[in-house]
Structures are given as structure tokens and as C-alpha cells.
């Protein structure tokens, strides 16, 4: 439908103008992305030249001595996101399978809608809920219980303050759950029905059909969904800042406060007085940008592959 336009285009000046206009509009998107990358690189130049690659491995974050290292934030971001995935992936896969394969059809709409509502709620509301509901619950109930039963593990030692890595990870898991669930649901839906019917006709149970046929088919799409969720977890700012405790130190215990890349930017970017401090924050931003960029590209590729295969499959 786009290739047939040559004659029409030359025939009509309005078309030419229209096309030029919308091309300009569309290119804004590319320009924006490039401008963000440029701006962050420019801002972080000082820090890049001061510490270079060592920045990634250094745990110092000392504005007084002007020593800056990104490791505590990278660590905090990775651990909180990993925790979030650990909780959210199994649950959201369960939700997706339930919604596509198991639930009676009258239930699918409402439950799907409610899960998507979770995605629509603003981050700051999760933070509010985190401070006043989740954190007291962790401090008063969950963390002491974990310390009693699993306290011999380094992850569950130390004082239960509520605010900390565990709270950050849990809030994140709730926030990325709908992303993973709804993308996986779309991916599962894209699996052609004749595959299911074939498996069931061979006498498999529902679960055997899902495990043997649906999941292998949808695998790369589900991985894509998980990566999309991870991308969201890495970049999430407000809710995490409100509950993670904001301390740039690496601790084994999940009860201990931590810090993420996004939260340190939120807390310090308009506050840093030293040039190097500011530049170090920009470098963290640049790193976060690069990582989320790569993850998103990867995830899109994977999800896109499943839907393409599915389209070809259904044509067969």
C-alpha cells in the first residue's frame, strides 16, 4: 500500500507537502533519542575522563573527598530488580497461563482488566502504599519471621527496619508483574490454536499441552516479556526511592538499606554542588540509559519474532 504511490505523489503537490510534514514529525523521535544520549554523554564527560572504567567497579561515593564510584548503585539496581523478577516472573506466568488457557471465558476479561489496572497506577501511589502499608508489614511481621527461621543466611540478618532492599524489590515486583503478565498473555494468545488442538487430540492433559506445546512455542516471547519487565524495574524511580532506604553501600542482607541508579539521580541530581559529583550522576544516568536501551531492543526483537512466527504458522 505504500509502494504504489509514485505516480500519485508526483501528481499531487499536497501529497508531497503532507509527506514531508509527517516525515519531519516522525524524525523528532529519532532526534530525541540521539539528543538524550548526547546530552548525558556531554554531562558525564568530566566523570568519564576522571575515573573512566574504574567508575563501574568503585564502591566509594564520597562527595567530601570527591571520590565517586557507581558500583553500589549498579549493585542495588541489579539486586532489587533480580528480587522483583524472582517474585514477579512465576506469578505473572501463572496469571498469563490462567488467563489464556484455564480461566472460564467470563472471568478472563475482568481479571485481565484488573491486572492491567496494576500497570496503570502511578508509581508514587505505589510508593505511598509502600511507606504506610508494605514497610510496616515487613518490619513488624515478615522480616522478624525471616530472621528467626532463616537468620543463619546472610540475606536475612541484621535489624529489621522495613525500609531496605527487600521492600524495594517487593514494590518493584508488584509494579512489573502486570507488564510481564500482559505481554506474556498476548504472546500465549498468539500461539495458534491448531497446535493446542493437536496436542489435546493426542490425549495430553492441559498442563502437558501447555508445557509441551504452548510454552516452547512462546518461549522467546515470554523471555521478551520478562526483559521488558526487567527494563521497567531497572528504571523505576519514585516507588523504589520511597522504600529502599537510600544508602550507597553494598550489604549482603536484604533487610539493609540500598540504593538504585534511578533513586540516586532523583535524590541528588538537582542538589549536587560539586562539578564532579554532578558529572558522576550523569554518568550513572548514561549507564542506566544504555542498559535500558539495550534491554528494550532485545525484548522487542524477541516478542516480535514470536508474533511473526505465529502469523506464518496460522497462515499455513
Amino acid at each position: 500500500m505504500a509502494a504504489d504511490t509514485h505516480e500519485t505523489r508526483t501528481a499531487n503537490r499536497g501529497d508531497l507537502v503532507f509527506q514531508r510534514l509527517i516525515v519531519v514529525g516522525a524524525v523528532v523521535m529519532v532526534v530525541l533519542l540521539a539528543a538524550i544520549a548526547l546530552e548525558l554523554t556531554r554531562e558525564s564527560r568530566l566523570s568519564l575522563s576522571a575515573s573512566g572504567v574504574r567508575f563501574l567497579g568503585s564502591t566509594a561515593w564520597d562527595p567530601v573527598k570527591e571520590l565517586f564510584g557507581g558500583l553500589p548503585f549498579i549493585y542495588g539496581t541489579l539486586v532489587s530488580s533480580f528480587l522483583a523478577l524472582l517474585v514477579a516472573v512465576p506469578v505473572s506466568l501463572g496469571v498469563a497461563i490462567f488467563l489464556v488457557e484455564l480461566a472460564p471465558s467470563w472471568l478472563r476479561g475482568p481479571v485481565g482488566f484488573m491486572v492491567e489496572l496494576l500497570a496503570a497506577l502511578p508509581s508514587v501511589v505505589y510508593g505511598l502504599w509502600g511507606i504506610f502499608v508494605l514497610v510496616p508489614w515487613l518490619r513488624g511481621g515478615v522480616e522478624p519471621a525471616l530472621a528467626r527461621s532463616l537468620g543463619f543466611l546472610p540475606f536475612f540478618s541484621g535489624p529489621s527496619q522495613g525500609f531496605g532492599m527487600l521492600a524495594g524489590g517487593l514494590v518493584l515486583s508488584i509494579m512489573i508483574l502486570p507488564t510481564i503478565a500482559s505481554v506474556s498473555r498476548e504472546v500465549l494468545r498468539a500461539v495458534p490454536n491448531w497446535l493446542r488442538e493437536g496436542a489435546l487430540a493426542l490425549g495430553t492433559t492441559r498442563w502437558e499441552m501447555i508445557r509441551g506445546t504452548v510454552l516452547p512455542f512462546a518461549r522467546s516471547g515470554i523471555i521478551g516479556a520478562v526483559i521488558l519487565g526487567l527494563g521497567r524495574a531497572l528504571g523505576e524511580t519514585m516507588a523504589v526511592t520511597m522504600v529502599i532506604g537510600n544508602r550507597p553501600k553494598i550489604a549482603a542482607s536484604l533487610f539493609a538499606p540500598g540504593y538504585t541508579m534511578a533513586s540516586v539521580i532523583a535524590n541528588e541530581y538537582t542538589e549536587a554542588t560539586g562539578d564532579l559529583h554532578l558529572s558522576a550522576l550523569a554518568e550513572i544516568g548514561l549507564l542506566l540509559f544504555a542498559v535500558t536501551l539495550a534491554l528494550n531492543a532485545l525484548a522487542r526483537l524477541l516478542v516480535w519474532r514470536v508474533s511473526r512466527v505465529a502469523v506464518q504458522g496460522s497462515r499455513r
Binding site: 562527595p63 571520590l67 526511592t241 544508602r247 538499606p257 535524590n267 541528588e268 542538589e271 549536587a272 554532578l278
Partner: protein, 367 residues
Amino acid sequence: MSRKNPFTMAASVARACVLVSVLALAVCLLWCPTCEAKGNDPGKPVSLEGAGATFPYPLYSKWVFEYGRIHPNVRINYQSIGSGGGIRQISEGTVDFGGSDAFVKDGALVKLPGKLLHIPTTLGAVVITYNLPGSPSNMKLSPEVIAGVFLGEIIRWNDSKIAALNPGLKLPDALIGVVHRSDGSGTTAVFTDYLSKVSPAWSEKVGSGTSVSWPIGLGAKGNEGVTGQVKSTPGSVGYVELVYAKQNGLPYASIRNSSGAFVEPTLEGVSAAAAGVAVPADFRVSITNAPGEKSYPISAFTWILIYQDQKDAAKGTAMVDFLWWAIHDGQKLGGVLGYAPLPAEVVGKIEATLQTVTTGGKPALSK
């Protein structure tokens, strides 16, 4: 449904979208005249934007509220983002004035686009507040104990060093949860300046500044955040401006000062500290660990930062007039909240400084 439906739907949706955006725009455009019309002051409306320290925020918000009643044409918007933010934003020129309780160092001052003035506005106390069962209000702390707690060397409430200072107090066998600031903070600057003076270990390991590398504890944003965190976390301890502890019914400790007396954070204690230190002409002075029997050791000036040469005449005049009001009439509003009034001698010096503020070569002060 009929085939026509999508088209009519489309039209109505398009109309609804346009309507919403037009309404939103209309609201923001029309609001101007209605708002400005409310003011019965003949003066031209002036808006001053400020940001910075959270330490004096309760006082500043009271000031701009009261000042706005007398001068409805002057709108002063002060956002408490932290002293680091105050310094940074006035340096960038994104605000008309900054608030800070840490003064700008010499090295940074020369890099600024113009001459920056530090105008003291009030005196406050940084208090050690804590959340313990029964909230005992009379805890006594020595500089060594405070440094030990914030260095992570004293980790339990029933540590013998704390118990020795508080023989009558029942201290729980619980871990101490340290809360500190996560943003660039003047309160942190004051507190770490104090610790650096009283503890060689602190000075060597941590040092002082608006942001430092904390050996222990969790970070919260603003005096508001630290108070909120301490209030909601049993067993925690934090440092905040006095008013935040008072307004929230949190207890605070008496601290042993340089002459060996335990002093409660009171207006008198803070005033005594200010009286014990000579104030230089540019007002950049630390009054922590001040000499004197009655001095509260973690006291501080807080400053409003403005450029001496004001680019905008109307704003410059409004700014200086407001500061003039703040150092005179405004001082009366501080006491209730827990801020000590500026010493008379300092007020005289500020008057002289405010008269040097110019806009377009002329003095900005209207009086």
C-alpha cells in the same frame, strides 16, 4: 451496530479531545487575571522563586504566608529541596534566591556569574531525635557517643557508653537504626561540621559537607523525610532541625557542650552559641561547638543566597524588601516554631549589606 457508528464516534471523540485540551489551556490562561485580580494591593504582581534548605522551611513557609497577606502582589514560592539544591540552583541561575544552611566555599564562590551574598535569616538547632519505647525525653548524649553512633561503632541502645550518661533511663536491648539525609543537605553540613570538630575519627574517616559518605544508616529526603523515618521506625535515631522534632512530638537529646554542661536545644542555647562567635562581614561562619556554658553545640545560621546585582528591578526590590521584613518583623514568628532570633548586632550588619544590593546600578531597597 450500524456502519455509520465508527464515523460518528470518531467525530465525537475528536471533538472531546479538542474540547479537553482547549479547556485545559483556557484554565491555565484564564487563571491569571482572576488570581491577580484577587489581590487588592496596587503594586504590580511580582513572583519570586526560591529553593533550597529544608532546615528553615517551616519558618519560610510561615513567612511567605504572612508576607503575602501584607503584600498580596508579591508571591514567594520557596521549595524545600535541600541546601545542596539551593546552592546548585542559585549557581545555575534557575531560581531567584537559594536557601542554605551550609555556606558556599571560597573556591565555588569565584566560579559564580556574580557576587553572591549570604543573608542570615534565622538561627536554628540540629537536634538528635530518637524513637524509643515510652519516648524518654531527657536522654543525655556526649559528643563521643554521638560520633560513635553515627560511625557505627555503638550499635545497641543499651551500650554501656549510653547507659553511663543516662543512669536512670531504661534503655532497650535493640539495634540502633541510624537515619541520615539522602539529599544534599545543610543540616548534614552543620551536623558533620560539628562531628568533625569533636571527633578526630569522624574528621578523618568522613569529614564534613552537604553530602558525605555515611558509614552506617539509611537515607531519607529532607528534614521532613528524616523526621518521618524516625517517627515511623522504632529504635531509630536521626538528626533534624528542632522544629521538625517539636511539631511531631518527637523527643530530642541534651548534648554536652564544649564547657562540659548538658544543654537542651532551646532558643537560649542557640542564641548563646551565636553570641559566642564573632560574625564576619560576609556572614559565612560556623557556630557549632561554640564556647560558653549555655551554648547548644549543634547550632547554625541559615542563609538566603542572592546575587548582589539583581538583573530584574521589580524582583530585586521585592526580594530585598522581603528580606528586610524577614530580619525585622519576621523574627517574631520564629520563636513559636523554635528558631532563635538573629542577634541585634547581626541584624545591623545585614541592614548594611541589604543596602548594597543593586539593580541596574541603583540600590534595590525601596525604603
